[in-house]
Point group: D2
Chain length 338, copies 4
């Protein structure tokens, strides 16, 4: 932490600033020039309340030098974290992990059928929503517990680990028992109570980036889960909100690259939600792989025009198989395998 | 709802589109030109899945004509809704409702002292956070239940109704019993499970706009609560996220005006969180009143430099008293009173 | 300027960093701790290329401490700048300056008629576009030189100074001769060649904020004009681009407040372009005045439904007269007069 | 174009709306239901002023059905446009076109050296700025005409066509004579006078997307140039402005895909300016190729730490050679060659 004093500060203001920093647990280096006086913190500055310090009289500006996330920070954990989605399907290593399935679980036939198809094409895990966050209270809200049971059935048939979204702290215990990877949606990325409770579970958490969240806020939400004891966090870029309206959101692939440098956690990309258009999924998946993503989350539906939600962004099992072929060809160009 | 067919559609594609619309519960008017064919829905189109319709072969585009929110819509409820914050303090009528208090409840002395000061200055209700949504897991998370008790004490002393933020469905029952107005923070605006449960309570809900939420999404979140049975929703504009970094967020005062036209619900403005700077609060409060806000949410702290959170945006009781005087002078210019 | 060295930097890297700073014209203060080494610049750091410095090996981060704008900076010019729009109509002082008129000059009858009406209602100057920046090449592009002549005629009849937009360096000389205030549109805010040439004129420049410009970039564009020798710059907030689509843009009134603190230049607000809806103009004008604007830019058209452009956001002369009455009542509440 | 009438419209309002549409040159189809009345336009609706129509009494809403750009629209020109950058180097075909070079021309030695290096690595053209758009008037503004001369020299030595940015209409004639591809920077994307004059030249125009421009606005700016007679427009995505601050801008790769569908014009990507960080260039270049870009614009500098501008985002000739190798391996995976 670096503090710049205002011109013409009073001696007691300097003392107060130094004392406040020292009380926060650091040693203070003072550089006193004729015009500028700078205070530098030696040691861990986390104990200093930056805001309070900046409100002191005589203080012009307080600048943070280190990142506020620790457990998620690559500086302190240089090795890539590799996470087991369940049954040995890894994400974060050399092999690209593709999670595929419908937006919503709709019926046994549907979910089992899609699961078999994506498994055959090489998917690492099955996704499917049982509890659906819908903008409208009048829209289909998901099958709930029945949806979870159908996902379990699809897992039993195919062996694929299941990934599904949690929407309430009420369901943490049930999810911990029934599913393999617990997804936190973009709209709940800063539902801090939910994050805290997920920090006490043992299952991997797929944490989607909020629609208007900075990379730092996203990593701080990962930090919430990790600080609670669960270090198995998978980050998922799914598009951010901008002024552009042609696509549902704007997929931020440079964020993937950024997060891989700032953090050791695996990062996957969801091109389906980002773009909202099925015809864009193939190319954006390939771009995500090229950018360095550790995996993908792809919406696959057996009959997109009759999907109960997000049909417009779902590809068919045939298109998924085709996509997997293309990803397989591309992977070696970026040092990965499928 | 209006549907435009693609050029050169097949007759069976037209039939399929018409049938899909009819199954959704509307009568369909067909305008067949030499180049353009348009289908218009007569009646309530809510039963039609717009997305599915748009995926049908032969369909070029589907355009919604009516708003997706009903209970929150001024079209169906032309009169302004006036809500009692507790003890007769109204919001939504001619009188401006000012809710004031510290970001966090910190101690009995602090909250009772601030409550007395803001009451003396004319505040309609007391705000104070007991459960705090903090970006960092390492930051002060609020006093929790103890904070609620201290708020109740401040209410007992001053008679001011209390407004405080809920962060989890776990607390809905307790909040229903203990507080007067339940606040939903910006980060939980689309925590749909929470909204649903709040729809079953009897207390007014202060619903903050999400950082990147459109006006329509905000009204849809109000609709969630109202659809559950609780029509006492107070909307709160608190700044949206843009590229500008000088202010914490960008206060969108035209949204206040827009919402007052689109909806019958009362709208209040929180300039403290929007700007993040105490020196901006006075002028932005006055601007909000001029723009048509029904009330304000102002952070007031007895000792901002030592506040446990958001000290930089808190004004002192003296500044608050001064602000109330200015608002009192301004109010008649826009047909309001204080 | 403050430089933080990387942990484990080599002695020659430190020397190189110090030398680079010294060559930029400052004295360097070195704070060497056991973990952190900080270099602080004494004196004017403008000569240092911050980017180059940050690329040096061993340098972790370079932080600017002072604003990059000088002539526009209130620190060096604490007094409010007051600018004469022409004929003694001032902006930046106690009196609110209201500039009104149609989006486009369309005919003699129209522009003279509107000029007389807004003059009667108390406008300080007449606005009207002769050269129009239109998104589509197929839309009406303005009357060009004929429009300028009609504006001059309206000035001759009413005595009102005329404000009109310049779109090309080709017209600088002609504008200098013919108009009173030269407007730079949002889309040309960073047309640096135009700014440089306007810096050599003697007429006040009304500089609109770009749709996605930060406050700092806006002030840097003012600095371009001022650095060229013309210090008569009037800033105009006209809405920024966000994800919200109900309004054409999002009027950023906290930017008005911010700029008044950061700079000594007058700031006016254009609610017509910001909102794009005539019914919003009255309240947003009042809010702008309450926020501290020094003036307003209002679109007034004698027959909005038949305007050649932007009819949807134009108010009628009657509505303008009514608005002026309301602004007159409001002004004393914020220490202004009309 | 589709018009929805308000409920309870008067018969003469309907007639007025129909007449206004007919005067715009279309045939009007009327669908009269008991609740909803819809007017559909048959034929080219470009002659109708949508805004005026929407202001008529009795009109609820006017919805455009077709894109406002014609010459840039793939609907009317289904074949990909292939453009010769000069000397037979094509962009828009199967072969990826990579344009490389320094941000600014700084000296003969620098520009000729870089030109030789990028030519050897397979670049299709040389980029280099002679006129620089800088946020600060105090920053290096480019070598101007001398820079153009040095670019010509580099072309003479290497045979590479030269691409450089124009900043003012004053230079159109000179650029037409001296350079091969004229670049319009992001900040001038809506400098309509410049676009119009470029529409009269014969040289290819590289049109960068504005920082906050929608895809439609970008295509409308291309339309300006094309409407003037010059159909050789190359679009360049270079990042849009969002709330994220880690990267300079947010590279919008889905826009590349979108534009390739909406338009027949070639699209190239500039990862250097988008990210602002040299270490991101390789991966984002590969992602751009995977997403479907027809080419790349890469900043290459012989000595980035001493570059006069944008050194932080420049890669070295060695890194560029390495990148070209990787792109060459990747290209066949997406049906391209290098």
């Amino acid at each position: 932490m670096v503090v710049i004093m205002k011109r013409g500060f009073a001696p007691e203001e300097l003392e107060k600033a130094i004392r406040t920093m020292e009380e926060g647990g650091v040693k203070v280096m003072v550089s006193k020039g004729s015009e500028t006086t700078i205070l530098g913190a030696e040691g861990n500055a986390d104990g200093i309340d930056q805001e309070k310090l900046s409100l002191l009289p005589g203080v012009e500006r307080v600048m943070r030098v280190t990142e506020p996330y620790k457990k998620a920070n690559r500086k302190y954990h240089p090795e890539d974290t590799v996470i087991d989605l369940g049954g040995g399907a890894l994400v974060g290593g050399e092999k690209l992990a593709v999670v595929a399935g419908p937006c919503s679980v709709e019926s046994e036939e549907q979910i089992v059928g899609v699961a078999q198809a994506v498994k055959a094409a090489g998917a690492a895990a099955l996704r499917g929503g049982a509890f659906k966050p819908r903008t409208s209270p009048y829209a289909f809200q998901g099958m709930g517990n029945d949806g979870i049971r159908l996902l379990q059935e699809a897992r039993a048939v195919t062996g694929l680990p299941i990934v599904t979204e949690i929407m309430s702290t009420d369901n943490v215990e049930m999810f911990e028992m029934c599913v393999d990877v617990i997804q936190v949606g973009a709209r709940n990325m800063q539902n801090f109570d939910l994050l805290k409770q997920l920090g006490k579970t043992t299952k991997p958490i797929l944490l989607k980036r909020g629609l208007s969240s900075t990379i730092e806020e996203w990593l701080m939400s990962a930090e919430y889960i990790m600080a609670g004891g669960n270090e198995k966090v998978i980050l998922c870029e799914r598009g951010i909100r901008t002024f552009e309206t042609f696509t549902r959101n704007t997929l931020d692939l440079s964020a993937v690259l950024a997060v891989k440098q700032l953090s050791h956690l695996p990062v996957v990309v969801d091109p389906s939600h980002a773009c909202g258009k099925a015809w864009m999924v193939e190319r954006m998946s390939m771009a995500a792989l090229a950018a360095g993503a550790d995996g993908l989350l792809i919406e696959v539906h057996n009959d997109p025009p009759h999907a109960k939600c997000d049909g417009a962004q779902s590809i068919t099992p045939e298109q998924f198989t085709d996509l997997m072929g293309k990803l397989g060809t591309l992977a070696p160009c970026v040092g990965r395998e499928l």
